[in-house]
């Protein structure tokens, strides 16, 4: 029953006009809620959360570094499921969603690497180390950049979508590697301390601000994604109308 409902919902959303109406209503609320949660989260981080007993105040970098890392993987998962939607189900919004997700995911991967580097210098004594977690995250950024480049390389949207989908699914191999690198290899990076069997090992006074920041980042990321999908739908309408106009001018001239 529930499965049928979800299929029905996805099919309903496949209609771009309906999607535009729904997302147009949803977008300002999501953006507003994201701003509110950022306000609360930043207040908790800067005025409530304690300094770490080993790391001192630099632990404040965690509250942006960790959500950025989660979102990097989250947007890759969105792209991978959209790629399936494109290749398997030919869902008309799947490749639009995939294209809109790529620059956002790339930006969060970049934030994760830069803040990690700025955290590494005072704590580990180095900006960069070729360990498994850091290297697989750098590969993640390169895959994102490759996907962005491929979108630009192929002019026709449907052909571009198929090529990008294949690259996205191949690149998805890297997602579990990033996630489990800290367990599979001996890394300088610490292992998971929030999403792990046996519950989080991080104290509530830091876990709560971290989760608030993570939800704020996620809401903002999803709002940006929705907005990107809307713009992409408009861009395709513009493209179609330009082609139609050119065809009509040709027909008139002939």
């Amino acid at each position: 029953m529930q499965g049928r409902y979800i299929v029905h919902m996805i099919r309903e959303l496949a209609n771009p006009t309906r999607f535009m109406t729904l997302s147009g209503t949803l977008l300002p609320w999501m953006a507003g809620l994201a701003v509110l949660l950022f306000g609360i989260g930043l207040y908790l981080v800067w005025f409530v959360a304690p300094a770490d007993y080993q790391q001192g105040e630099t632990v404040k970098i965690m509250y942006i570094h960790v959500p950025a890392a989660w979102l990097s993987l989250f947007f890759y998962m969105i792209m991978a499921s959209s790629a399936l939607g494109t290749l398997v189900w030919r869902h008309p919004l799947a490749d639009v969603s995939q294209k809109a997700a790529a620059p956002i995911g790339a930006a969060f991967t970049f934030i994760c690497l830069v803040t990690g580097s700025l955290w590494g210098k005072p704590m580990w004594g180095t900006y960069w180390q070729w360990d498994a977690r850091l290297t697989s995250m750098l590969v993640m950024l390169l895959v994102y950049l490759g996907i962005l480049a491929l979108w630009r390389a192929i002019e026709e949207p449907n052909r571009a979508a198929r090529a990008v989908s294949i690259l996205t699914l191949v690149g998805a191999v890297n997602v579990p590697i990033v996630k489990f690198s800290v367990d599979w290899w001996n890394t300088l990076h610490q292992p998971a301390s929030v999403f792990r069997l046996g519950g989080p090992t991080i104290h509530t006074s830091m876990l709560v601000p971290l989760l608030v920041m993570a939800v704020a980042f996620t809401l903002m990321g999803v709002a940006l994604h929705l907005s990107g999908i809307r713009t992409e739908i408009l861009r395709r309408r513009v493209r179609t109308l330009n082609l139609l106009e050119a065809e009509r001018l040709d027909a008139r001239a002939a």
């Binding site: 630099t58 942006i64 934030i111 005072p122 408009l234 309408r237």
Partner: protein, 51 residues
Amino acid sequence: MTHTFFIVTSYVLTALVIAGLIVRAVIDHRAQVRALAELESRGVSRRSRRG
């Protein structure tokens, strides 16, 4: 360099990247809305016109 330098740089860079994403989204959206309005004002639509 002090720890404050690393913390503040992290937050400032993150804010700049996110602001960049938002500005890019707004500019791109406006450009497409404008292009669509222009095409429609020229009478181009998905339905074929007579003559």
